[in-house]
């Protein structure tokens, strides 16, 4: 067991705050340890999204998880975006900011996807500098998630895990270890998932992600639309033995079932930490039927966080 470098507390087992669950959460105040929110959904929200976020922040710890930092882009840091992000982080008291080790566009475009980076000295140096800037600006740790990737570049001079490890060592940013993404990428690029985990300094791991994926035969897609498979749970157990307690989040972004189902899935993580699941931890409630509302902005940024199973 290794404490994390920043003494970020282990909140326990969280789920994503998703619009389809708003009514349930507000009505039933479920016994969830914490919520992760997609930052971009709330950066300039003024209507119901702002109202719900503020209500949830009154009762639960919240961590911001973004999809547009684009730290791997050769574009410079978007300071206007950081200003909005910092204001939101301060408002909900997010102890750290997480986003992805990827890029989402260049020349001011945003492709709204988590694109792979070449693992080169040039990329590393560029991202280290940007990460340091972001952490200083945000006045809190930056935690970067390893993404599922579907392409790699021959120009890479090191492995993904060496790149990630060196990035953390040289910038002192943290890692959001997405165990499902390690599994997906290991399948897609034919490497050993445990070798990835072994290379990472446990003290720099701040959080875990768990999710379902879709097997297309020739490749896996990080679809976040199903339960976590046994092999990914076992990877989580393996990683947990090295780090000890870290915030653990269950991602479910497509075909989202009732809240109780998502929460149950998150709580399964206890078993892999050799902890008992408290049967009173959640109370199955009568599903709340959301009124037919045009909640259009709420779903879109959440789409970026996963790959569609429709591919």
């Amino acid at each position: 067991m290794t404490p994390n470098k920043w003494n970020i507390p282990d909140f326990g087992f969280g789920v994503g705050l998703r619009s389809v669950h708003y009514n349930h959460i507000l009505e039933h105040n479920p016994k969830v340890d914490w919520f992760e929110v997609i930052s971009e959904t709330y950066l300039e929200s003024g209507g119901r999204t702002k109202y719900v976020l503020d209500k949830v922040a009154e009762c639960y710890p919240i961590v911001l998880h973004g999809v547009s930092l684009s730290i791997g882009s050769s574009d410079p840091v978007n300071v206007e975006y950081l200003k909005l992000l910092k204001a939101l982080a301060d408002r909900v008291k997010s102890p750290y900011i997480s986003d992805h080790l990827c890029w989402t566009g260049v020349n001011a475009h945003n492709v709204h996807d988590l694109l792979p980076i070449p693992y080169t000295e040039e990329s590393l140096k560029h991202i280290v500098n940007k990460a340091k800037f972001v952490m200083e600006f945000m006045e809190r740790p930056l935690v970067l998630e390893n993404v599922s990737t579907y392409a790699q570049f021959t120009s890479s001079t090191m492995s993904e895990w060496d790149f990630h490890a060196r990035l953390m060592e040289e910038s002192q940013c943290g890692m959001l270890m997405d165990v499902n993404n390690i599994y997906v990428s290991a399948y897609n690029h034919d490497f050993d998932a445990k070798e990835f985990i072994d290379r990472i300094d446990p003290s720099l791991v701040c959080q875990y992600h768990l999710a379902g994926h879709t097997n297309k035969g020739t490749h896996l897609l990080d679809t976040h639309n199903d339960h976590v498979i046994d092999e990914v749970w076992e990877l989580y157990r393996y990683a947990y033995q090295r780090t000890g307690g870290r915030n653990t989040l269950l991602e479910w972004d497509e075909d989202i079932p009732e809240f109780v189902v998502v929460h149950e899935e998150a709580l399964k993580a206890k078993k892999y930490r050799n902890e008992k699941i408290d049967p009173l931890a959640f109370k199955p409630a009568k599903p709340t039927v959301a009124p037919k509302m045009r909640l259009t902005p709420l779903e879109k940024n959440e789409l970026v966080n996963s790959t569609s199973h429709k591919l």
Partner: protein
């Protein structure tokens, strides 16, 4: 791919391939992509897997891009999507709109903000109807995230002495917008939303109010009289001047206006159109 390919070059290449509306091969061999990296260099630069070629692997990101763009636009523009049908809507978005107006925002919520302009500048036969419809749908989307403000109550209204009404100013809520249109877009969109029989597209002046009440967005049709009065009231004009303006504009309708004015105002206050009253005396 040569190891010395700068990061920016690689990313510009990959972005141009992802955003290209054609086939995978067309995207890789497009002028824009080849300008960044010649095809042979690019192909050699992406590792194949055991079962997927470099083109297949980048193809996953290409498909994801177009799926995300079309899904996002479909959420914001169900009326426009209904008009074209899913296939043509997707084609329009993927092959024309995102090419003309690529996303430059941190959020997908902003992707559709140029759709009215896109139709206005198009050569489509139905461009005027589509421009109006897109304006209405954009107004609804924007309304959902407008700042929330407290609503003026009937009690606050009743507390204003009779003699002061002429000189008060009504402050509208942030989540309210008025639209003047040239087509029957309100009834068209309402029918799409309610999955009821869709009216034929008809060129006729129409007036719409989009507002939010208790975090729920509504859109309703107004008469021209209501539109003129409400536009005046919400633009900062004094209450008395707004009434006078309405009477001047429709001198032959004075009796009708006198009959309906109170009812309209009552309804607007109940719907939560106003946030506060400003006294100028």
């Amino acid at each position: 791919m040569k190891s010395e390919v700068p990061l920016n070059t690689l990313q510009r290449w990959m972005q141009s391939v992802i955003e290209h509306p054609g086939s995978n091969e067309e995207a890789w061999k497009s002028e824009q992509a080849e300008r960044e990296l010649p095809f042979e260099d690019a192909y050699a630069g992406v590792k194949p897997s055991k079962s997927l070629s470099p083109m297949d692997r980048i193809g996953i990101y290409r498909r994801m891009f177009f799926l995300r763009m079309t899904e996002s636009m479909a959420i914001d523009y169900p009326g426009v999507k209904h008009f074209f049908g899913e296939e043509e809507f997707d084609r329009l978005v993927a092959e024309e709109y995102v090419h003309r107006f690529p996303s430059k925002s941190y959020t997908l919520n902003h992707l559709g903000r140029f759709f009215p302009q896109f139709f206005k500048e198009s050569k489509l036969a139905e461009k005027e109807f589509l421009t109006d419809l897109a304006r209405l749908e954009l107004s609804i989307t924007n309304n959902l995230e407008a700042e929330e403000k407290p609503i003026l109550t009937q009690q606050q209204i009743a507390a204003v002495p009779q003699e002061q009404w002429e000189k008060v100013r009504l402050i509208p809520i942030a989540a309210l917008e008025l639209l003047e249109c040239n087509y029957n877009v309100c009834s068209y969109l309402t029918a799409v939303n309610e999955e009821s029989p869709i009216p034929a597209v008809k060129k006729e002046r129409s007036f719409v109010v989009v507002y939010r009440n208790n975090y729920r967005t509504y859109w309703e049709e107004l008469s021209e009289h209501q539109f003129v009065l409400l536009s005046s009231l919400t633009s900062g004009t004094l209450f008395g001047e707004s009434i006078a303006l309405l009477a001047d504009r429709f001198p032959s309708d004075e009796r009708e206006l006198q009959t309906n004015l109170f009812e309209w105002f009552n309804e607007w206050v109940s719907n939560g159109y106003f946030s506060s009253i400003e006294h100028t005396t």
